[in-house]
Amino acid sequence: NAGVTQTPKFRVLKTGQSMTLLCAQDMNHEYMYWYRQDPGMGLRLIHYSVGEGTTAKGEVPDGYNVSRLKKQNFLLGLESAAPSQTSVYFCASRDPGLEILVYEQYFGPGTRLTVT
């Protein structure tokens, strides 16, 4: 049981290049999330999904696209990378569960992206 995994762990891009970050979870969770973490800014939600085939915008969606073709995978795409997208990206997942008030999220180890 690996939990939430992210690939790659590190990546350096040049401005204008594109890339896809992969998140995979083996806990059969319905909900998945992509966050970015910047110094002094905390965790900010980029996009999220409440089930296979669904996606929704979070707090900072501009410049990113996502897809959830399979329940266990959530992909984050950068079509034309910009230096402002230099950040650490975290994927998370959770199960709605029976207790609607409890929103425990399980996080991956993160991807450190630098755009030059």
Partner: protein
């Protein structure tokens, strides 16, 4: 927009000292969580509090949810170097599937 303010932003203490840190909001949350994040890793859930006034203990860590469910505190007794990390609070209104995170408290415990 619900905001969670965490204080202090940075804290450096000596091993064995006690400390209390805070997570405050003007909004009411149906539940509030505390996560700890170590360098190079993702956040890991420590506790979830749901009921106003609730107190939960996790070894040397004591978490309290305010009576009005707008704030929370984390008290650490006899801090150890292993407590070093970034402490994040996150709140949910229960009406959707998103969490609102605070900016975090960086704690350093010196041996």
């Amino acid at each position: 927009t619900q905001l969670l303010e965490q204080s202090p932003q940075f804290l450096s203490i000596q091993e064995g000292e006690n400390l209390t840190v805070y997570c405050n909001s003007s909004s009411v949350f149906s539940s509030l969580q505390w996560y700890r994040q170590e360098p190079g890793e993702g956040p890991v859930l420590l506790v979830t509090v749901v009921t106003g006034g609730e107190v939960k203990k996790l070894k040397r860590l004591t978490f309290q949810f305010g009576d009005a469910r707008k704030d929370s505190s984390l008290h650490i007794t006899a801090a150890q170097p292993g407590d070093t990390g970034l402490y994040l609070c996150a709140g949910s209104t229960g009406a959707n599937s998103k969490l609102t995170f605070g900016k975090g408290i960086t704690l350093s415990v010196r041996p």
